[in-house]
Structures are given as C-alpha cells and as structure tokens.
Symmetry: C2
Subunit: 293 residues, 2 copies
C-alpha cells in the first residue's frame, strides 16, 4: 500500500512554480498577481485565505487581499469584482466562499471575468471543462488529477466510482475522469444520496473518489483488494484532545480500508494540500495567458 | 413492453407549442423567431434544416434561413453570427453542423450569444446545465428527458448506463441524469471505447441510453429483464430495398432486446423526432425570455 503524500506533492509543485516565476522575472516578464476578496470573518475562510496568501509569497506571486465586512451589499461586492476584472495588473482572483446569505454566490461567480476565474467556478470554465477544452479547472478536482498523474496511477479503462455529486467536486471529477485523455478514459459511475447499491458499485471499483462529506462512509467491506482510494472528505469532528477542539475526518474509514488499497490518500495531508497548489497553478497559467489571451 | 413513440410525442409537443404561440399572439405578444445558418449543400444538413423550418411553420414561428456556399470564409460566417446576435427580432438561432473543415466549429459556437444559443452548445449553456442552472439544454438530451417524463419512467435511484461520451449526447445525458431533480437522481455510469466490462455494467442497468453510433451494439444478453432502453443511434446502413439506398440503424439489436424491456425506443421514430421538438421548445423559451432576460 502506498500512502499518497499530498503535502509533499503540493510542496514540490510550489517549488516548481517558484522556479518558473523566477525564470519569468529573469526574462523581464510580469510577476503573477492573485487577488482575493474576503467577506466577513468566518474562521475557516480566514484560514484558507491566509494560506493562499502565504503560498503566493512562497511562489513569488504578488497577492492582494480585499476585505469587506459581512454586511457589505451585493452591489458593492459586485463593484469590487468588476474593478478586479478591469485591473490589468491582476491576473486572476477569487472570492472566498461561502458568502453571507443576502449575497447571491452565483451572481458573484458569473460577474467574474472567466479569463480571471482561477477558481474555475464560472459557467464558461465549467462548460469548457465538460467539452474537453482548455480552461481553469477548479482546485480540488485539479489537485486529484495531479496526484493521479504524479503517482502514475493508471486510469484508462478502469472503473472509477465517484461518491457525491457536488458542483465543486463530484460532478467535475466525474467529467474529468471520463475525458479522452490521461488521467481520464475511465468508466465513471457517480453515486449520491439517492443511489441504491452503493456497496456493489464500490466493490467493483478500481478507483473510488469519496466526496460525500460523511465521515467513515467507505468501509473495508466496500473496497476491492488493490483499489485506489482518494478521500476528499474533510468533516470537522469535535475532538477534545486537539488544541483546535476538532480533527478532520475523511469519508473513508482509513484504518480498516488502507490495508486493502494499492494507493490511498490520508486525511489530512492528502487531497487538502493540493487545492492551494491548483489555485497557484491556475494563477500562473493566467499570468502566462496560456488558457485565454 | 411499451414502445416509446417519439413521433407521437413530438407531434403532441408541437401542438402544445402552437397553442401557446397562438395565445401569445392573441395577447399582443411577439411571434417567436428562429433563424438558421446553413453552409454548403450536405444532404443530411439540408434535410435537417428543411424539417426545422417546416416545424417552425407548424408551430406558428417565424423562421429565417441564411445560406452560404461551402467556400464561405470563417470571418464572413462569424459576421453573420454577430448580425443575428444583434438582431432584436431573432429570438434564437442555430448554425447547422457540421461545417466545412476550414471553419472552426468551436469558434462559431462561442461567437453565438449564449442567450440566443437554442442548440445549447455554447460553453455557458453547457456549464449552467452541469451546475444545474436554467439554460438551453441541447436537443437530443432534452428530447430524451421529455420522453422519460411523458412516459412516467422512474429514474430516481435507478442505475442508468450511458453508452458513449460525445459532447452532444453522452456527456450531457450523464450530467442530466445525475442532477437533483426528476427526471434525474439516477446513479449514472458512462461507458465508452476504453471501458472494460461494458456487458456487466449494462446487465446491472435499469436504464440504458445507447449513444455510441455502433449498429446493434446492445444485444439481448447485455440487458436485464424489465430494463428501459433509449436508443440514440442513427447509423445509415446501405439498404438496396430502400428508395434512399439506406436505412437508419440504432445501437440496439431491437428484435432480440425489445421483448426483455419495460420500455424501448424504436429507430427511427424514437429519439430522432424529439430533437426538433426540443429545438422549438428552446426557441419558445427564448421568445418568452424565460431563461435569460
């Protein structure tokens, strides 16, 4: 069994990006610039945005953080988005989700210029991904593809079961795994809350991508010997032994499943660290204008 | 076994649309207007476009046909698209595919204003469909959903195997069948040229949607008793007994598969006739500005 070390891969990708940025600057090119809009003071969002900014520093990117209080009006937020769209120095930007309930996330996402949408949530990027055209692929699916690639995990012709059909993980993951390319070319099954026979589907899977947000959902009796397990779950489970008061729990019952696997991602330290690497990579692509002119 | 009569359903939908158009006109509303661009003189394309125009007449739509010779430049074609985008009287329009090789179909599709893209091929419509937002759904998947709906075929929690991963049928069909709605909520598996175990996947399917373009691919030994079969295949097979010199052959070996099914679509007369009904329905939605303002 090989433990997939997302933390190490993520660090390596950041090093590669930093080296490329250094090369760009040496040749007189422009420093990639990522901006982030943060609304309110949600603890999780604060942590994520801080990590993104820190990662920008590591990679030699310029970063800008724009903050609003939680009572900002939708119109004011949309104005900030439009300003970033128009700012030629900003290569890509994100609006950290979730947003307060009085603001339409979808409206905000669709106001972002798709050419700067490094989160890959704009319908144009989602659509281009489905069609198989160059685009910004959102962070988690992109990170999983990268792990599969760097661990040389065979996907062509394999049965891949995706658990969960969220717009940010399950659905895009399914679409990516069925594309005509590598990683891809898999026979893909998507299971969700309405599915019967989830156990049978999982038992026939060569690759399981678990993104349900249900701690310990995947148990040993659901997994075929030699399967590859990608665990996207990161549920915060109260834990008095931790300083933070919680620990992150994956969708997979790791201790009993791991011995049966050929490859498995731990939680934490598997898929999680890859998301920021994906965002940085999209920003680098944006800076180089590789996807869109 | 119930034979799904796409021809009858399509005729019924056209009647419903015609009645709604009459109502709109009675209330002083605008007659829906579909425009079509046809390049060259391909026999199939000529036939399709002619049927679409005839269907417009039946439904009380205004229709406009714009023709170009096969040697039209890409720029000239794009100009025509831009003119239709700007023409306030045109509610929706299509560019009949395929186009001559010197013209980029993708560029043409992306030049169409997504608000008038009643074929549903623009990345914005594809992306919105994947996310589950209101949009123009392309003709064939939309037609299949409509058949499932009108025949009250249960899809929630059912296993649906989609054979084929084309951008115009397989992929969107898979996305639609897994959405949180009815028809939808199915456990979806997509099989294609790289898949192993296609037979096993099909044997466990409650619903099979065959869109491979391989005549007679689905045989009786691949189908579970009581399954629902939707046959999207329309391969032209040479046939000297026919006036046209060919007959249309589905992806399903109908004679041996039909007796095992609860529902099955014939070829021709199943999914085929539904595509034009879907296009008309999208045009009606465009005329009413129901999806986009």
């Amino acid at each position: 069994m090989t433990l997939i070390d997302g933390k190490a891969v993520s660090a390596q990708i950041k090093e590669e990006i930093a080296a490329e940025v250094a090369e760009i600057l040496k040749n007189g090119g422009k420093r990639p610039h990522l901006a982030a809009i943060l609304v309110g003071h949600d603890g999780g969002s604060e942590t994520y945005v801080a990590s993104k900014i820190k990662a920008c520093e590591i990679c030699g990117f310029k970063s800008t953080l724009i903050r609003f209080e939680a009572d900002v009006t939708e119109e004011k937020l949309l104005d900030a988005v439009r300003q970033l769209n128009a700012d030629a120095d900003v290569d890509g930007f994100i609006v950290q989700l979730p947003l307060p309930k009085h603001i339409s996330e979808q409206k905000v996402i669709e106001t972002i210029d798709y050419r700067k949408d490094v989160d890959g949530f704009h319908p144009i990027n989602v659509g281009r991904m489905a069609i198989g055209l160059p685009c910004y692929i959102s962070a988690t699916p992109n990170g999983i593809l990268e792990l599969l690639k760097r661990y040389n995990i065979e996907t062509s012709g394999k049965k891949c079961v995706v658990l969960g059909r969220s717009n940010i993980v399950g659905k895009p993951m399914a679409q990516l795994m069925m594309q005509k390319r590598v990683p891809g070319d898999a026979t893909v099954t998507v299971c969700h809350s309405h599915s019967k026979n989830i156990k049978e589907e999982c038992l026939s899977a060569d690759i399981i991508i678990a993104a349900l947000g249900q701690p310990n959902f995947v148990t040993a009796d659901m997994v075929k010997e030699g399967a590859v397990i990608i665990d996207v779950g990161t549920t915060r489970v109260p834990d008095p032994t931790k300083k933070s008061g919680f620990h992150l729990n994956g969708d997979v019952k790791f201790d009993e499943v791991a011995p049966k696997c050929s490859f498995i991602t731990p939680v934490p330290g598997g898929v999680g660290p890859m998301t920021i690497a994906s965002l940085l990579n999209n920003t680098l692509l944006a800076g180089k204008k590789e996807i869109y002119k």
